[in-house]
Amino acid sequence: MKPTDIIKDKEYFHRVVDCQFACPAHTPVPEYIRLIAQQRYTEAYMINWESNVFPGVLGRTCDRPCEPACRRGRVEEEPVAICRLKRVAADHKDEISAHLPVIPTTKNGRKIALVGAGPASLTVARDLAPLGYELHVYDEQKKGGGFMRSQIPSFRLPESVLDEEVGYILDMGLVTHFNNYVDSLQDLLSQQYDAVFVGSGAPRGRDLANLPGRQEADDSIHIGIDWLASVAFEHIETIGKRVVVLGGGNTAMDCCRTARRLGGEDVKVIVRSPYEEMKASPWEKEDATHEGIPIIENHVPLEFVHEGGKLVGMRFEKVQAVYDDHGKRSLVPTGEEPVLYPCDAVLVAIGQENAFPWIENDIGIEFDDWGMPVLNPQTYQSSLSNVFFGGDAAFGPKNIITAVAQGHQAAISIDLFCNGQKVEERLPPSTNLVSQKMGIHEWSYDNGITTDDRKIVPLVELTSALQNRSLEVELGFDVQTAFVEAQRCLNCDVQTVFTDDKCIECDACVDICPMDCINFIENAEEEELRQNIRVKAVNVEQALYVSGELKTGKVMVKDEDVCLHCGLCAERCPTAAWDMQQFYYQVTKAASACKK
């Protein structure tokens, strides 16, 4: 293999920081976790705010792609509770207004329209407001936040948390047009906007329109996302005692748990697929189960059973999952009698779709066969050069953190576009590498490796939770627990940096490394090296760090996979050929892009 070029290849060390790499917004996770351990909550919060804009919201609701990626999960059973640590920063921070960017009073003369006030649009606004843009936000709802407000129930995300973080952005001098549905892009474009950002989400819930009984029993059948929005905006306050929720995703989980709080006593989730294959995150399923909601798998809806238009139940066919040679699943009827589940209401939570009825066909925005806008995946620019998309509206329904990440990129594009620059010519991320050595056995990070198990977030008592739709279920970590959890982090951003010409090949690092990461062997092609080292490097997602040729003709090969970043290699190296250096990686935002 060629020697690893840690300086030129900015992504090399980024990949080593598993959580940050997995985070769509590339939040510098280990840095904020260390700050939490040091009780520097405000700084931890601001690092998050810079990257992901909604730390308090995300600390409660994020899909947390970082956690399955976390190295700790490869070293022992459970990853670091990254997401809930983020909440700790939000819960315990001080007043942050002094840390927020200054918004220029003299504007830069450019006017941008943002359709939708969800996380994607708000991120664009947050990045562009400090640059002096005049920002107009449109949303059909009465308040900002998008689906974070209309869909995510307040027992998971208190309104005060959302109001606070949405408020930081609205307070940057945005012109809000709430209660204002944009019904024509053409009209909007004619209002002298320099650019338009479409962050309108994926607002249409799927229905079972053709199932027998659907029309007749309509009064008791609700589309999940519409129903959740009505609950959020207090148009609906009760539901029948027996509720069937159809679907296996997170929307179904929010529907069933909300139904439990609006008077549903016998609430069931009934899903077509096997339990294991449900789309909902494992923790969402656990939360539903904890609230006494059974999840019934392998049942395909057959009909809504009604008596003269009054819903009395729902009939299902039992199926089993069968897989062909390619692993493709089909749900095959078991041949048993259909089963009837009596109920008073059904919530249909079987998926969401994009819909752009307000975008005219002939104004130059190209859509693909699935009705999605054709976009450049790096710049989010549409085929109409002054219209950009982001969030669920861009590539279909995902999650908040993806909407934020895309918002940052779209903001860069809009800024470049408005300055007459090529939107494709973007600045690379900023990176920094700084030695952590302070003295003998002394590093400026806490390199001890603790063995504590992952901490569990305490919950409010169940009966009170079920009585109050707005009572937050999770209590969050107290600071002591947060400290113990934060110490579980392996500091994957503190990199092992190797300097070949200092190494005397004494093997001290090989001998001390608890994880058998380090090898001095004959060079070979990557596949061969992966086989030849002390413990075979089977996890090909994780890189090999390869040095230049050493005096004996061998090379140093380090498997990054399970390195604990404990620093013992650097500690034992007599010549400081190994050093522990903190790698800071930051996605370039519009604010810095403009200084080009």
Partner: protein, 350 residues
């Protein structure tokens, strides 16, 4: 800010026949200087015992005084250990071995501990063919007392303090060969591919097994003009050949060139193969080993690898005809036969 070895180990670490991983053979974290050759030797001992699947509680580690003699703390943390007096490791090992022949004895010593203060002890352990592995961690100086020249330091070699050594060195391998040692090898701490099979073979040998391991002292004797530093040793190393240790159970698969390969079956049934670099060396011939060492020395080379082996020797127990059962397993009557037995003995001598 800590200097503790984490609890975690690689999740895919191999296990041996006892179901143990290498972690089960580790000791406390080393307090030696970073980069000390002795630490590599500890790692090699750990690897060898792991591969041999020795039960850790059936090993006794015995040492004298010196940085080298400290190392038994850093390997086999679950084994018996005795950190004795400077140069006195052989007597303690002899006593322990006589009392219980069922343990594996690993003696660790330094060049100071062996070739100076302990020389008298060393020579007698050799000639008695005490069944043990005797490891000399040879750095050409007294590391623990800040690097004075030792008796193995080459004439003219310059350590950290900067004055050349004035005296002829003692070559422990040739000396041991002279004294009738039954297993003699030399190695280098920086060459585990060679050292680990040698340690395995030495442990499996039933008799006295000396391995003289060049083990650089990074702090006091790793200068450009020292003949025991990493660079010098690497640049001047020659090997008798590649040693393979094949445990009893494994079938021998390799094809080899008969003129250059010597195969020795140890008394426990395991086999050693030496793929020789020098066809004149005969592992069963002391003289050829001594000559090979001298030939290399003349070329300013350090000959490493297996040098001599007599697998059919008798160890001290066999020579003395001692009881097989360890003393601790004998009952009081046998150990303390009483005044009548004493009288009988005295009577027989009158």
């Amino acid at each position: 800010m800590t200097y503790m070895r984490p609890e975690f180990r690689h999740p895919d670490l191999p296990v041996n026949d006892l179901g143990y991983t290498r972690k089960d053979y580790e000791g406390a974290i080393s307090t030696l200087c970073a980069g000390c050759g002795h630490d590599s030797i500890s790692a090699a001992v750990i690897q060898a015992c792991f591969e041999l699947a020795i039960e850790p509680h059936k090993v006794a580690k015995i040492s004298g005084i010196g940085c080298s003699s400290k190392t038994p703390t850093y390997f086999l943390g679950k084994s018996h250990g005795f950190n004795s007096v400077h140069g006195r490791m052989p007597s303690v090992a002899t006593g322990a071995n006589l009392a219980n022949r069922d343990l594996t004895y690993i003696g660790v010593s330094g060049d100071g501990d062996t070739a100076s203060i302990g020389m008298g002890q060393f020579t007698h352990a050799v000639r008695r063919n005490l069944n043990m592995l005797y490891l000399v961690e040879n750095n050409g100086c007294y590391g623990l007392t800040k690097g004075q020249d030792s008796a193995t330091s080459d004439i003219g070699s310059i350590g950290k303090k900067g004055t050349p050594n004035l005296f002829e060195p003692i070559d422990l391998c040739t000396l041991a060969l002279e004294l009738g040692a039954t297993f003699v090898a030399r190695s280098f701490s920086g060459d585990k591919d060679q050292l680990v099979p040698l340690i395995k073979a030495a442990i499996s040998h039933c008799g006295f097994a000396l391995i003289d391991v060049m083990s650089p002292c990074v702090t006091f004797n790793n200068n450009p003009n020292s003949t025991k530093g990493y660079e010098f040793v690497r640049d001047h190393i020659a090997a008798t050949g590649k040693t393979d240790f094949i445990p009893v159970r494994k079938e021998i698969m390799a094809e080899y060139n008969p003129g250059f390969t010597q195969e020795v079956t140890l008394h426990d049934g395991s086999v050693i193969h030496l793929y020789k670099n020098d066809s004149d060396l005969d592992l069963h011939d002391r003289l050829s080993a001594i000559q090979a060492i001298h030939r290399c020395k003349e070329k300013n080379e350090i000959l490493t690898g297996l040098l001599y082996l007599d697998p059919d020797c008798e160890d001290l127990h066999q020579i003395l005809g001692t009881v097989e059962k360890p003393l601790r397993d004998q009952d009081e009557e046998v150990l303390c036969p009483g005044s009548k037995a004493l009288e009988a003995i005295n009577e027989s001598l009158r």
